[in-house]
């Protein structure tokens, strides 16, 4: 299946005969470390994660069911030159995303110029009407982006998704590195791995840089839906590492368009909210009136410029899958140059020609809901059963505008430790891009997700995926 033709990031296409240039040290470490020893370390890592409580809960299961995400001890390695090219592409893309959001909530030039159709922006459920006409500090909306990348060859990287709302996973990036440093310290002698532990500091600096102007020592908080949320560990991890308060909606109140948090010493004014709740739950006065998570009056305070919300309300317009298909044009429009990171070829099923192509090739394609996420509501043609294909065919015909389709890519593989020994497994990659008053910063790392089932292309943790540490090599001994 997919694995056979896939590019392997250690072996290239040599099928295990010869490591790619620059990756010999990793190959040597792998061949010289006994399998039982790797097993032992992997188990030690997982038991450490369990005792730390690095868990997630799967939607649809009992809320109390906390699972840990499987961790793979074999790191995924990028050479310095691979990273240099990637980060240039990421910076370009995220700057375009922010320019696009600024534009669609401002002058809407890109629509007037006919680059993106008006209806897919303005009639989009992700378009936040309340945010139109308000410009946050520095014109930055998507302060934190988690750009999902896949790879099919040595220099072939594609953007699979732009997560511009509340991307998660950065705590796994940091905890995976801690586990590797503790369990495989020798690897860091063999390879010049660039450190990533500055991420919380960079995040805090970014938050400070986007505070409403004229505030000297801004008070930043992290707003979480609460400790039953599946990503709560990450919320508390980040708040802890940045030294800011972790608040729930009920800890905040708005008075005269100013946000206050309730403390043991009385109310304290809040200037920046790094929110990990969706737009719909931010403010029950404007959005979901049933929500107990939000803060009544928060949007009014935001629109007065009295508090900065990170990411800004309304950024969902940039990571919608219908907008995604226009990203090459969007990047070209704002950057004035070709995108450095291409999109995966995408058919918009709302267009009749595309739909008929997709219906003809359904068995070879990946079909996604425009507003789906987490690997739910998705068809992977080559591995789907006949009845699944039949179901999607009917759904596509009934509501074509709800779907996009992409070719099934031969995602790259990385050696992975399984109960059948070290075998190739498909991976994707989510680096985290910060945009603040001082420009774009990207910590040299990211979250590698790995599909642990043989041949599987679905890496989501809710669908049996695991994670790996991602090494970005520095100057010494770089061969890429």
């Amino acid at each position: 299946m997919a694995t056979r033709n896939a590019f392997d990031e250690l072996w290239g296409r040599s099928e295990g005969k010869e490591a790619r240039p620059g990756f010999e040290a990793l190959e040597k470490w792998l061949s010289e470390t006994a399998g039982t020893e790797l097993d032992r370390r992997q188990q030690a890592a997982e038991s450490a994660f369990r005792s730390l409580g690095i868990t997630f809960s799967v939607y649809g299961e009992d809320e109390a069911a906390e699972r840990i995400i499987p961790f793979d001890i074999i790191p995924r390695v990028f050479s310095q030159s691979e990273w240099t090219a990637l980060s240039a592409g990421l910076e370009q893309r995220v700057q375009a995303i922010n320019a696009f959001i600024d534009d669609v909530y401002g002058d809407r030039k890109i629509i007037a110029d006919g680059v993106v159709p008006a209806e897919i922006v303005l009639a989009n459920s992700q378009y936040c009407l309340q945010a139109a006409g308000f410009r946050p500090p520095h014109g930055i909306y998507a302060h934190i982006c988690g750009i999902d990348l896949v790879r099919t060859g040595p220099d072939e990287f594609y953007v699979l998704e732009d997560n511009a709302r509340t991307p998660s996973g950065v705590s796994y990036m940091l905890e995976n590195r801690e586990a590797m440093l503790r369990l495989c310290p020798e690897l860091f002698d063999l390879l010049p791995v660039q450190p990533i532990d500055t991420y919380p500091d960079q995040l805090r600096e970014m938050l400070f840089s986007v505070a409403p102007s004229a505030i000297r020592d801004p008070v930043c908080v992290l707003l979480t839906p609460g400790h039953f949320n599946s990503a709560f560990y990450e919320h508390s991890f980040l708040a802890d590492n940045m030294g800011i308060e972790l608040v729930e909606g009920s800890d905040l109140e708005v008075d005269d368009d100013i946000v206050w948090m309730r403390t043991t010493d009385g109310p304290v004014r809040v200037d920046v909210i790094y929110r990990r709740v969706d737009d719909a739950f931010l403010d029950p006065l404007l959005f979901n009136p049933e929500s107990m998570l939000g803060v009544p009056g928060l949007m009014a305070a935001y629109l007065k410029g009295n508090v900065t919300i990170v990411n800004a309300p309304g950024t969902g317009i940039a990571d919608d899958k219908a907008i995604y298909s226009y990203m090459p044009e969007i990047v070209r429009y704002y950057a004035g140059e070709d995108p450095k990171l291409p999109n995966v070829e995408t058919w918009r099923c709302r267009e009749p020609q595309a739909l008929s192509y997709v219906l003809e090739h359904l068995g070879e394609m990946v079909v996604k809901l425009v507003d789906g996420s987490g690997g739910y509501g998705m068809l992977v043609g080559p591995t789907a059963s006949r009845s699944e294909i039949r179901r999607f065919r009917e759904a596509l015909k009934a509501e074509p505008h709800r779907y996009i389709a992409q070719p099934t890519l031969a995602l790259s593989t990385v050696p992975t430790l399984t109960d059948k020994g070290i075998v190739p497994r498909h991976v994707d990659f989510r680096p985290f891009v910060l945009s603040g008053g001082n420009g774009v910063t990207i910590v040299p790392g990211g979250l590698t997700r790995v599909a642990l089932r043989k041949g599987s292309l679905v890496v989501n943790s809710s669908q049996g995926g695991g994670t790996k540490d991602s090494f970005i090599l520095g100057p010494r001994g770089d061969g890429g």
Binding site: H227, F232, L246, D251, T263, T264
Partner: protein, 314 residues
């Protein structure tokens, strides 16, 4: 600090302390039960009834209409989900609070609570007496691990709020333990009962891990009025009511000097401490030990409420 976080921390302190106390109570009761078996079922029954009474669980246990056997009480106090003061319920509640206040506590403190949770979560039954004792030892080690982690925390609000919860709970526990056995604690010179009474006093000391403390401080054989003196008045004894009153004042002082403000909870704590000035055990016996303990318990409840108000817990 966020008011909600302060409340979470305070309740971590209370629940962990309650879990530890209940664990020790079970250990001590198993020991006493073994010693009384020789004197017939009636006294063994009263031993277990007493354990239920100490943690205020006698009524809720009776509502279950289950035979009052050692294993039933053990299970009810250690593992029962329906008992919200069982060791299991306390550890679950402590962990819930710790999860919510995760950023305010150290990784070590979190891991200690989480370890206790993992140890008790998987446990469906207690098994035989050996297995029960081994399990209680595990839990004691877990709660001790938490105390160790707590002692290594930065001396800041988070630490003080957790300690404040612990000390309020500790005072409550000691007073309840004494109150259930108050009729065994006789004033100086009164007729001293038989072996069984002596074992009851030992059990009290065992429950608050004070047997060594007794020997060190009094250097004489077990006397009931000295047991009462130790657990009510001796400031050297961290679980005594006087020590708890003093520690409450100290913690409130740390918290208020941090914020620069004082309130009703501070005044109340100082007033309670002043009641111990120059107090002697004989005077307590004269005016009634039981009444003294009941008053301490109800004042402790009031103290808890003033703390919640002063720091805007809800």
């Amino acid at each position: 600090m966020l008011s909600r976080t302060a409340s979470n921390l305070y309740w971590i302190g209370r629940f962990m302390e309650r879990a530890e106390f209940t664990t020790r109570l079970l250990e001590a009761t198993i020991r006493l039960s073994a010693l009384t078996r020789a004197s017939g079922n009636a006294s063994e029954h009263s031993v277990w009834q007493g354990a239920l009474a100490v943690v205020g669980a006698a009524e809720s246990f009776a509502e279950k209409h289950e035979a009052l056997t050692p294993s039933a009480v053990n299970r009810y106090l250690a593992l029962a989900e329906e008992n919200r003061n069982s060791v299991r319920s306390c550890i679950f509640a402590a962990r819930d609070n710790a999860r919510a206040a995760r950023a305010a506590i150290t990784r070590e403190a979190w891991e200690a609570i989480n370890r206790a949770y993992l140890d008790i979560r998987s446990r469906s039954g207690l098994g035989g007496i050996q297995a029960t004792m081994a399990f209680l030892e595990t839990l004691t080690a877990d709660t001790r691990g938490f105390e160790g982690a707590l002692s290594r925390m930065l001396r800041s609000e988070a630490y003080w709020f957790m300690q404040l919860g612990s000390v309020i709970e500790r005072g409550d526990n000691t007073a309840r333990l004494l109150d259930v056995k108050y009729y065994l604690l006789l004033p100086e010179g009164e007729h001293v009962g038989g072996t069984l009474d002596r074992e009851q006093w030992t059990t009290i000391l065992h429950t608050v891990s004070a047997r060594n403390a007794y020997r060190l401080l009094y250097r004489e054989a077990l006397k009931p009025w000295l047991v009462a003196d130790l657990l009510i008045l001796r400031r050297e004894m961290p679980r005594s009511l006087a020590a708890c009153a003093r520690e409450t004042v100290e913690l409130m002082t740390e918290l208020s000097s941090n914020s620069g403000r004082q309130g009703e909870a501070d005044r109340m704590a100082r007033k309670r401490l002043s009641q111990f000035d120059g107090l002697e055990i004989n005077r307590i016996f004269q005016s009634g030990l039981h009444e003294f303990l009941r008053r301490f318990i109800s004042e402790n409840v009031a103290q808890d409420q003033t703390i919640a108000q002063q720091f805007r817990f809800s």
